[in-house]
Each structure stands twice: as C-alpha cells, then as structure tokens.
C-alpha cells in the first residue's frame, strides 16, 4: 500500500469480522425462508463467497449465491465521475420469496446499495433484503443503513477504502487511503 494508507484491519481481522457477520446473519434469519447472498460487483463478490462458506458451515445448508452489477442502474452515469465498466449480473435462482442479503465491502454514500436494490426488484420480488458490509465509513447521502457491519471507521470524504481477502501470498486487510482533499 502507498505511504498515506492506514491499516484498519489486518488479514486476520477481516476473517474475524466475516465470521461474526456470518453468525449474525444466521441468528437473524428465519431458517424457513430460503437465503441468498448477493455480492455487489466487484468488491462485494469475494466477501459474499466467503460468507456463504461460513453460513454453510454453521447451518449445514449452502445458501444461494449471486452477483449483481449495478452499472446500468447508477444515478451518476453522466456526472463525469469515473465508473467501473459493465460487468455481468448472475442470479441463478428465482428471487421470489427469498431472503436476500446484499453484500458489499464498503458502505459510503449509499447510492450503490440503492441501485442494487432497484436492480434486484427488476429480477423478482424477494421476501426481504438486508445489507451486510465489511466497512462502514460514514458520509451517507441516502437514508440507508447496514443490518450487519464488520467495522465502523472515521474517514474523510476524499479518502478511499480498499479491502483485500487473505489468500496465498497476500496478507489481506482493510486499508484507509488518504485522498487529495
């Protein structure tokens, strides 16, 4: 990481947070309602995959797993801000009646989550939608809050937060990177 980046969590810390999030999700969800974890591309996807493994260990039942790309639902396509290029939305199950936990790495303005909820509704009618994030860095611009939060941090609006899962040769962790204010 660059010089002006600060570690919020190390690789182990990320893993501990995910375990806690998984157990909160299991505790909170009615076992009678089929559960789906849907990662928001691109940062939420690896977290959703890891959470699904942890939930399966805890319940002996694999939740459905999906990925959502919100590019076409953004409200800032023409604001001149830079955006990710178009990815694929993969929801290999009918959403109707599912309890859906949207998973993202960082919660910031809330606009991404709004777009993701809009897109989910074009695919079907989930029983309910909840939100799990690893890092909540504040600065909300919409009335959206996460149901499951790994870590809350103070940040400046110009900062960036980057999350990496621990894997072979990568220590992993969550980092706050100072931006040009």
């Amino acid at each position: 990481m660059t010089q002006n980046s600060k570690q919020i969590l190390d690789g182990e810390g990320v893993e501990r947070c995910l375990k806690r999030l998984a157990s909160e999700i299991v505790d909170d969800c009615d076992p009678e309602v089929p559960l789906a974890l849907v990662g928001i591309r691109s940062g939420g996807m690896p977290l959703a995959e890891r959470l699904a493994q942890l939930v399966e260990v805890a319940t002996n039942r694999a939740p459905s797993l999906g990925a959502i790309d919100i590019t076409l639902y953004r409200d800032d396509l023409y604001t001149g801000l830079e955006k990710p290029s178009l990815g694929e939305t993969v929801l290999p199950f009918a959403l109707d009646g599912y309890g859906v936990v949207l998973v993202d790495d960082v919660l910031f303005t809330g606009r991404t989550v709004r777009a993701a909820m809009g897109e989910l509704h074009d695919y079907g009618r989930p029983r309910w939608i909840r939100l799990a994030v690893l890092v909540d860095r504040g600065h909300r611009e919409l009335p959206i809050q996460a149901d499951f939060v790994g870590r809350r941090v103070e940040s400046k609006a110009s900062d960036r937060v980057q999350v990496e899962l621990k894997r072979d040769g990568v220590a992993g962790g969550a980092f706050l990177i100072g931006g040009q204010a």
């Binding site: 940062g43 590019t71 076409l72 639902y73 953004r74 396509l77 023409y78 604001t79 001149g80 801000l81 830079e82 955006k83 990710p84 290029s85 178009l86 990815g87 694929e88 939305t89 790495d105 960082v106 910031f108 303005t109 606009r111 991404t112 809009g118 897109e119 074009d122 695919y123 079907g124 860095r137 960036r160 937060v161 980057q162």
Partner: protein
C-alpha cells in the same frame, strides 16, 4: 475522438471502417452483457433515463428501426420517430436544416437512416453536441448491422482469426457488405465476395478481399456464408447488372444441394433480411439448421443497446474505479 485501446470513446458511430480491433471487440463484449438483459423477465434498466433519442429514418426500414427503438426503450431513453414521409425533407428542406432544427431541441442521440452515402458523416460534422448513430447511409455503411453480424459469427464459430467468410450477392450497392468487410478484416478474418462481376465494385483487393465468380469456388472451406438481398430496383433502372432474378437465382442463389456439395458441414448461413425467399435463398433454407438469421435479429437489439450506451458516454465518462469508497 480517436479510440482508446480497450474502450470506446467516440461521440458518434458512423461506420466500422475506422474502428480498431480493440474498439470493435469492446463493443461486442458490452453487447454480450446486454444479451443477458434481453432474456430477463423485466427487460428495462434505468441507464438512459432522461435521455432523448430521435430516430430520423428518411428511408423505409421496419426491422432496423424497431430494433433501435426496443434498444433505446429498454435503456429507458425517450424516443421520437421522424420518418421519410412525415419529415420536412419532402417539402424541400435539406437534411442539414432538418437535423439542425432537431438538434436545437437538444436530443442526446440522432439515429439516422439515409439513402445518401455520407449523410451520417455530414450530421456528425455539423452537429458537435449531438451523438450521431448511423443506421445505414446509402451504399456506405450500416455499422450496427455489421456489429450484429460480427457478434453472431463470434457466438457461432468462436472467433475471427483465420476464419473464412463468403459474402454473396450485390456487393456494389451494399452497405451491409461494406461494414461486414471492414469489421471482419480488422478482426483478422479472411473475406471472399461472390456475385456477378457487374455487382462487384473495384478496389476490393486493396481491402484484402478475394472476389469469386462462382459459388463453386466461394463456398469450399468457408465457415460463414452471408447472403445479401437482391433488390428488384437494380433490374428496373437500366443498370443492366443481370438479366433476371430467375437467372440470378440459378447461378448465385443458395440452396441445400449447393451447400451440401461445396460447403463445410458446419457452415452457418446469414442474411441481413428481409429475405427474398426463392431469389438469393431457397425458400426453406432460411429456417434450416444452417441458418442463424434469427440469431442475427436477436443480437441486433443487444448490439444497439451497447452502441447507445457507449456513445452516450457509458464509458466515455466511466473509465476506472470510482464507486464511492
């Protein structure tokens, strides 16, 4: 306005001639994503909400216009249609005057179908603030048809490099053939054309295109056969291109026995539509196992969504990561 590698950053889409392999590849990749959207129960996304698209179709077209209209509406754009008969161009107003008046109403995109080559280029030059998408200009280009042909070929046979595409028919008067030739050559495919010599324009060798007089030599080894529509009007205006559709069909029309005799077993047959059954294609061939004609139509919507999305800066504005972290 030069293209950047790996992306598409142009204000207009006028043709495939000047696009790089990277730009074409990117357009096809994005179209591939939109294909998935067209299979959903809810096929509409809010991406172009609040954007205005004008269909300025000064030449008759049903299929292309419908395809563009579906594409624009699925992206939530507002669409307005002006056709040849309702436009002022029939009252003596010039194309440029019509377009300048439309542009004064601040549309974001004008989709132009025009019977004169260079029509779209004229608008793109004169209207700096409106994106122009060429939906066919004269004999020059029909880039979205070219792209949907490329997408269909890529999905059917997996790629372009070293593959052989034979285009059969009226090459001289075909914008479909030109766009296909530019795209295929840029992506590394081998292109043959075949038809009566009166309908083969000069200079194709400079594009690396091989001309054949007969299907007997044009078909063997081809992965794709693209049949072009033969227009009745070519016979009518003293062009002297060929004596009759009956004779044309006999020599250059495609049928099952010619395919079985000369073509590879797994060849695919394409046609930009509408098909003159019994002229360039044997009636039942359009519905045969060789035909991918309906795939072309299906891919057309996805390609046009990708084009509308990209010329309006879906990625001109959107270059790298900036998602509110």
């Amino acid at each position: 306005m030069a293209g950047t590698s790996g992306g598409f950053a142009r204000k207009d889409l006028l043709g495939l001639k000047d696009l790089s392999a990277e730009e074409i590849g990117h357009l096809l990749d994005v179209a591939e994503q939109f294909r998935g959207l067209n299979l959903r129960a809810v096929k509409k996304v809010p991406t172009l909400r609040g954007k205005s698209v004008i269909h300025l179709f000064l030449e008759p077209s049903t299929r292309t216009k419908t395809s563009f209209d579906i594409a624009a509406k699925r992206l939530s754009a507002d669409t307005f249609s002006i056709s040849g008969s309702s436009s002022s161009t029939t009252k003596g107003e010039t194309l440029l005057d019509t377009a300048k008046n439309l542009a004064a109403m601040h549309p974001d995109i004008i989709i132009l179908r025009h019977k004169r080559s260079g029509g779209a280029a004229l608008l793109a030059r004169e209207l700096p603030h409106t994106s122009i998408v060429n939906a066919g200009d004269g004999f020059c280009e029909h880039p979205t048809q070219g792209l949907l042909d490329l997408l269909t070929i890529r999905r059917s046979i997996g790629g372009f490099r070293g593959r052989v595409v034979s285009i059969v028919g009226d090459i001289m008067h075909s914008r479909v053939a030109r766009s296909a030739i530019y795209g295929l050559r840029t992506l590394g495919a081998e292109v043959r054309v075949c038809g009566p010599r009166t309908l083969i324009p000069p200079g194709l060798d400079s594009l690396g295109v091989e001309a054949h007089d007969h299907l007997e030599t044009a078909l063997p080894g081809a992965d794709v056969v693209m049949m072009l529509r033969i227009q009745q009007e070519r016979l009518e205006r003293g062009g002297h291109y060929f004596p009759s559709t009956r004779e044309y069909s006999r020599i250059w029309g495609l049928n099952r026995s010619k395919l079985e005799r000369w073509a590879r077993k797994d060849v695919i047959v394409m046609h930009p539509g509408p098909v003159n059954r019994g002229v360039e294609l044997e009636p039942e061939l359009a519905d045969s196992r060789w035909s991918v004609i309906l795939d072309q139509v299906e891919n057309g919507v996805a390609v046009r969504m990708a084009v509308l999305y990209l010329v309006l800066g879906g990625e001109r504005a959107a270059r790298s990561e900036g998602r509110g972290q």
